[in-house]
């Protein structure tokens, strides 16, 4: 079985700690008192707030959005009143405040009417894509890239859809939980995505340590029911929900293959997964579509299903609340915008081992300064760690050139060289060593015996390079404006001289005309 797979270089095997949350059944978190929506979108710009302070909003109502291709609308996850549009701390590594919309919920959960496409097999791909965008669907695996934009592959030929269920980071089990409870919605989502792309083949990849998820999928694929009592789709486990309706023909599923991939970190990285499944290597700075593949997270597929078939915007998702610092680790269906404190409280609150709060996993997650921050669309996990769950700040020692980092790097980089050049600010050389291919997976950090915070050096170097590029663009722009101004001044000067000369001539002419007796000067 394993011989079917291609190997990628490097990677590490980690302690998985998945049983902590995966053994509990999926729970539905109650409506929080407050919902908080940061307006910042991918690409850094804020989307426009479409409601004002004091407005009543309904569940599913669009409260912010604009036309930028990298931004998607934000929908209210419950009914209530908009009480603030203000700067608040947001989940961002900078710790800076961002503009947020705040809704005080009324507990009634009144919803807007939704329109749904009952039979997507007869809808045009463009219609489906628009529907997905209007529903605010983004990649739920962590990157939050707008799904509709990713599904627009230009004129590249696509022959394979990959659904990524290989949750390779320790602690996180939200995709596993989704696959076990509602495999139908994922399969249906896959069918919709396949129709949009016009592909005949789909692979759903799960890790070999997730046998139950694979079983549930296989069963659902055969038209059977999921093993546990038929749970409603998580997005509709909320009070006003309808059950999930099977619409796609079970025969469509014959093109969907379910594969178990080795549990090695970072198999769930998009490029690594594609390599493992197909042997195709996504080119440097290319996208998977360049090798004919589109990759989506399994949660995204379920959200696509909800958006298209049930007409439901993305307002909730499964979040793994876990770690030694939480009393009852489990997966919960949480409304997007729920403050982290409320989710942790729902899971029994903190234990005395709680030390650090992380959004995401221990390898690539984001350390949070406080639990007042809201969950956002890409929040797959809230990890309350103790001192040894994450590396912590250890004293860094000089690099001993052991080469362990190069062995571990899944992208085949030489982290010690990158480190050397990033640290000494030799950015051109760092770029020559393919700095921008680094996926910031943290494998090198993990294995480095000297505890050098390699990834942070790489992020800082990337930031400085991008900054320089922006400066250069600004300088070039300023040069153009300066030159245009010089040219204009030159022209004005010439025109003035010209005008003065003409005036002088005219005067001279008038003078000669007036003097009688003399013949006019010959031309």
């Amino acid at each position: 079985m394993l011989s079917r797979f291609w190997e990628f270089h490097g990677g590490v095997r980690l302690n998985r700690h998945k049983e902590l949350s995966s053994e509990q059944p999926l729970a539905v978190a109650p409506i929080p008192k407050q919902l908080i929506y940061p307006l910042q979108q991918r690409g850094g710009l804020n989307s426009k707030a479409l409601v004002a302070v004091g407005d009543q909003v309904l569940k599913g109502q669009i409260i912010a959005g604009d036309d930028h291709p990298l931004s998607v609308p934000t929908h209210a996850a419950s009914s209530g009143v908009v009480t603030a549009l203000e700067y608040r701390p947001v989940p961002h590594p900078s710790g800076l405040d961002g503009l947020c919309l705040v809704i005080d919920t009324d507990g009634l959960d009144r919803a807007v009417r939704t329109k749904s496409v009952k039979d997507f097999n007869h809808s045009k791909p463009d219609t489906l894509r628009r529907r997905i965008r209007e529903a605010g669907v983004v990649g739920l695996g962590g990157a939050a890239f707008p799904t509709a934009t990713k599904m627009n592959t230009g004129n590249r030929t696509i022959d394979l859809l990959v659904l990524n269920g290989a949750e390779c980071e320790p602690y996180i089990t939200c995709d596993d939980c989704l696959l076990r409870t509602t495999p139908d919605s994922v399969l249906q989502g896959a069918a919709i995505l396949m129709r949009i792309l016009g592909v005949e083949r789909c692979i759903i990849a799960v890790e070999e340590d997730m046998p139950e998820a694979a079983q549930a999928l296989e069963k659902a694929k055969l038209g059977g029911r999921p093993p546990s009592p038929p749970a409603p789709s998580p997005r509709f486990a909320l009070p006003d929900g309808e059950g999930s309706k099977g619409v796609a023909d079970a025969t469509t599923y014959s093109n969907i293959e379910i594969l178990k991939v080795p549990s090695k970190y970072p198999t769930g990285g998009e490029k690594q997964l594609i390599q493992v499944l197909t042997g195709r290597e996504v080119p440097v700075r290319g996208i998977p579509a360049d090798v004919g593949v589109v990759c989506q997270n399994v949660g995204t597929a379920a959200a696509v299903y909800a958006a298209v078939v049930e007409g439901a915007p993305l307002t909730s998702r499964i979040v793994t609340v876990t770690g030694p610092g939480v009393a009852r680790p489990q997966n919960v269906v949480a409304r997007i915008g729920t403050p982290i404190a409320e989710l942790v409280a729902y899971c029994g609150g903190y234990t005395e081992r709680a030390q650090r709060l992380i959004m995401g996993g221990p390898m690539m997650g984001l350390a949070l300064p406080s639990d007042e921050l809201p969950t956002i669309k890409s929040t797959n996990c809230i990890l309350v760690a103790d001192s040894d769950a994450v590396g912590g700040e250890k004293q860094a020692l000089p690099c001993i050139r052991c080469g362990a980092c190069s062995e571990a790097c899944p992208v085949n980089l030489i982290p010690q060289q990158l480190y050397w050049h990033s640290r000494s600010d030799q950015l051109k050389k760092a770029q020559a060593y393919n700095l921008f291919d680094c996926i910031e997976c943290g494998c090198c950090d993990y294995v480095c015996p000297s505890h050098i915070p390699l990834v942070q050096y790489f992020r800082a170097a990337k930031g400085r390079i991008l900054d320089k590029q922006r400066e250069q663009q600004k300088a070039d722009h300023a040069r153009l404006r300066f030159e245009a101004r010089q040219a204009r001044k030159e022209r004005e000067k010439r025109e003035k001289e010209e005008a003065a000369r003409r005036k002088k001539e005219a005067l001279a002419k008038a003078a000669t005309d007036e003097s009688p007796g003399r013949p006019p000067p010959s031309p």
Binding site: H92, L96, Q395, A396, G463, E471, A475, A478, R479, F482
Partner: protein
């Protein structure tokens, strides 16, 4: 025989090509000056003691000015120039003042009397307004050169530091814990 003719024909073709490109793709001006100018930040502020970035570039090319006289370019700018010219980088010349944080000009719209003097001073046309009407700075075009500040007769132009935003933030270099 045919071979020789062919080679002759080829050479003639190359000759024509070279002649053509010499006329049509000629590089304007001195290429070294162009390269130096491309590295300079184009604020046209004159802090280097020359009347603009290009004149400074010309002076560097001629060897009449040192590479460490541009404060807006900062240490990074000096390094880029050093790399381009193959010389050692050095710290900024104290005589031209140090590196300052990024700032943009802001006009106090209550105080502005609409004299248009700042418009004439701005090298990149970043100020908008007409005679006797309040003026304003287009933030995206302003390079922060400060040339408009001294010319204002009512002192209503101030340089404001650009605050860090979520979009402009970048990861800091780790605190060096190494010996």
């Amino acid at each position: 025989m045919l071979g020789i003719l062919l080679v002759c024909a080829l050479f003639a073709l190359f000759g024509l090509l070279l002649g053509y490109s010499a006329i049509h793709f000629r590089v304007e001006g001195d290429p070294l000056v162009e390269k130096i100018d491309a590295v300079l930040p184009q604020t046209q502020c004159g802090q280097c003691g020359f009347p603009g970035c290009r004149p400074y570039a010309e002076a560097i090319a001629k060897g009449e000015a040192d590479i460490n006289r541009c404060p807006p370019g900062g240490e990074d700018g000096v390094k880029a120039l050093a790399e381009l010219l193959g010389v050692e980088a050095k710290p900024l010349d104290d005589a031209v003042g140090g590196e300052k944080p990024k700032a943009l000009a802001v006009i106090d719209e209550q105080k502005c009397i609409g004299c248009t003097l700042c418009i004439q001073a701005c090298p990149v046309d970043a100020i908008l307004g007409s005679a006797k009407h309040m003026h304003t700075v287009i933030a995206s075009e302003c390079t922060g050169c400060e040339l408009c500040v001294p010319v204002c007769p009512v002192d209503c132009i101030a340089m404001e530091r650009v605050a860090e935003t979520l979009a402009s933030w970048k990861w800091p270099q780790p605190r060096s814990v190494l010996p």
